[in-house]
Symmetry: C2
Subunit: 472 residues, 2 copies
């Protein structure tokens, strides 16, 4: 088992960026190519706790042609390229560890087509999930994938994101129909059609979903949409222990209840969101749930779940049926990350992301709680527990190396346990810089070597987000 | 647009099979390596209409080690390897167009593990879908993917199969959790864990699902299972025209009804199954539907669908709620392929497999019906219409070249139309030998070249089912 060695992971191995390349870039993009320190620094970090010098330049792309031209120039000079959406990565995906240029795709923010009758939409990569939902709301449709942050859909595809609705609607893996991608040679390909299913050759769409910018730059995303449910109801339920909340979730999933969301917050997380969002939730472990369906279906699901929760000591089952109440609760949940940091001013968050088969979830979380309590670190736990996915967020003082080391030691043990329980080191955040050793432990040298072989074949100059997922 | 040129596609380019290789194979596998003409011929064809000389030998594998050893020997001598399940491919996937050896995996038929509490199972590749369903039935679980044939699960993964339940439960793309694969070098890798979701590096699982044996030999499959629904109800409904049945389906899908199966049979298909299965179905276009859920949920869905069907002229809505009635109807549906051939003794079937966005389905099918009627060929239509996927099966006399040519010309026009309507040339059968030109039309040279690049990188000697999906 390879513990993340932060010194190794963030070792900067900058590659030369020839002046001729920067000149050509400036000529092609004019003032949409910036070398200003502030712009570079803004693009040189994400939500990960790593500090790395920023990229050499930032290009603001406005079209697929822009991306293709930038990549072609980069290929001519073997300069690294990093695609950038809104910068919400948690694992260092966006950091310029080998230098090079960042392609800011935020201006590629057009919803290109909505095919309501087919429940599909095609968007540029800079469109965020909230923007897409605004655009389709009047049609009675929604896009369910919700990682918390208002991330760009290109970035969500690139990290195979998921979040709160995945237990019912799947992840980006299931919800991307097709992509347009700029290859390492600057060519533009399409990876699929708008058909709901296909057996036409290799699944290039799924090869790019989760490839973290290392195989191509995503320039269009075709997505599935869903009819807004006739009825939506949210509920919270408090539990005497994290274990009781987890056992309730396991029973709900094993019964086959089509619950739309089932989120765990431990007492620490509840405390943080209470303070940050001025709520008055009882500060015990809780589940925040949502039910989608017909009126009768939602009532049926809710009755089943309420019964299961009661059997496990759940109490104070509270309904939030108005959109306003629901929004308030889910906003609080989504702010847990920032609430945690706000409760510990100046800290950074080291987040774990294990996902295990549902039957192993109770064991996985119980041990994580015990170890976190013993460590003395500030922490909280949130989880998309219906999927077996949970996050222990350790809050560490960036100046305190011992705290970082403790957090990483806990992370290592948590991942070791998840793998032993037949789970994965990352349910939804991706590998980035942080989990490269874990990936080897999980997939084996043979599997990672296969990934490297694909990477070398499709990006022989190693210019596409180099240094991420694995070292070459 | 490239029409399939059968002469080119089935041009046999046999590669040398050195006597030393066959000796080594015989030594390693003894009488589990057969060169008997009958055994070779049995493995030298599938359900496609192509005639190709059989492989040079057949090896009956009983373990992953067997597969790995066979592949290693083949790699030493650059001899082609073709994995074989039950031989139900429709597109020539199993034909030895470059000679070499077939690995018969039917003896690898163990259900290795059932994790009922996680709704997962791990099986060897020779386990068939019916066998798996028998093995999990007593646990109240089922595996929904149902391509009609009692195919092997390894083969279903390799072709990204789907079938009647896909409209609700997805395809093999969504239902394979992880694979064990023997690579072109004879090494064994695992592509994932039993976690429900993961962002751990490239999606090797999805790279192998649908790769048709060209990237590795699948030796284990981990799959999702589902709780048997509390209530299941099937219904048939007759329509005045194929268009009315299709329009009903479109409305049902667009309303978001979670229908489990919705199958179209045109009057020709109904006639064939009536005769073959001694049924007395009214010989008009019909939908065969199934609803899964709670008692209340099934009733709700059925009421909605019945209302929609009536609006489109559907009548004689008949329920089949007992398992026996349901089985009789679904068995008849599944036998449509053989019923069609039985109605035309001595014929072969040329099957199309287009899949289009649901809003384009009416147009796609209407034109196909018109062209088929005009052609004078015997044909019938069945379709997983809830997914936008339909099959026109042309019944041709294998000795009548003109009929074959007509069928292929219709196939070409049908695919051209599907692509124009933003669909795919193959919803579930795969590319095999037959659709290689269509794949280029659909994905573009750039996309196919990317597939070739991946293939060359992972199988540099081109020993894994060579000549399928694309030419190198």
């Amino acid at each position: 088992m390879n513990a993340p060695d932060l010194d190794v992971l963030v070792k900067v191995q900058r590659r030369p960026v020839p002046p001729a390349f920067l000149d050509a870039l400036a000529q092609r993009f004019g003032d949409r190519c910036s070398r200003a320190q502030a712009v570079r620094e803004q693009h040189g970090r994400d939500e990960s706790p790593f500090d790395v010098p920023p990229p050499d330049a930032v290009v603001f792309c406005e079209s697929t042609r822009d991306v293709a031209d930038a990549v072609k120039l980069a290929a001519q000079h073997a300069v690294p390229i990093i695609p950038f959406g809104v910068g919400s990565s948690l694992e260092g995906h966006l950091l310029a560890v080998q230098g090079g240029i960042t392609l800011d795709l935020q201006r590629m923010n057009q919803v290109l087509r909505i095919n309501a009758e087919d429940l599909t939409a095609t968007v540029q990569p800079g469109v965020t999930r909230k923007q897409l939902n605004e655009a389709v709301k009047h049609l009675g449709l929604f896009f369910p994938i919700d990682p918390g942050a208002d991330a760009s859909l290109g970035g969500m595809a690139a990290t195979r994101a998921s979040g709160t609705n995945a237990v019912r609607y799947g992840t980006m893996r299931e919800n991307v129909l097709a992509l347009e991608v700029v290859t390492a040679a600057g060519e533009v390909i399409r990876t699929g059609t708008r058909a709901k299913k296909s057996s036409a050759g290799y699944d290039l769409t799924r090869l790019f979903v989760g490839s973290e910018g290392t195989l191509g730059v995503i320039t269009e995303v075709s997505l599935k949409l869903y009819p807004l449910p006739e009825a939506i109801s949210a509920a919270i339920c408090h539990f005497p222990s994290v274990a009781a909340a987890v056992d309730t979730t396991i029973a709900v999933i094993q019964m086959g209840v089509p619950i739309a969301r089932v989120e765990l917050l431990d007492a620490n997380a509840v405390r943080a969101v209470n303070k940050h969002d001025k709520l008055a939730l009882r500060e015990t472990p809780m589940l925040l749930m949502e039910f989608h369906g017909s009126d009768a279906g939602v009532a049926e699901q809710a009755t089943t779940v309420q019964g299961i929760a009661s059997e496990h000591g759940g109490e104070a089952f509270q309904w939030a049926s108005t959109p306003e109440e629901r929004t308030r609760l889910w906003t609080a949940r989504h702010r847990a990350y920032f609430a945690g940091m706000a409760a510990n001013p100046g800290c950074r968050t080291v987040t774990t992301d294990a996902c295990v088969p549902i039957s192993r979830l109770a064991e996985a979380i119980a041990e994580s709680v015990r170890e976190a309590d013993e460590s003395g670190l500030s922490y909280y736990i949130v989880g998309h527990v219906g999927d077996g996915n949970y996050h222990v967020a350790y809050l560490v003082d960036p100046k305190n190396g011992a705290q970082f080391d403790t957090a990483e030691r806990l992370n290592l043990r948590l991942v070791q346990r998840a793998l032993r329980l037949e789970g994965t080191c990352t349910g939804e955040h991706g590998v980035g810089l942080h989990k490269q050793g874990f990936l080897v432990d999980e997939t084996g040298e043979g599997g990672v070597e296969m990934m490297r072989t694909v990477k070398r074949a499709l990006d022989p100059l190693n210019i596409l987000n180099p240094g991420k997922i694995f070292s070459l």
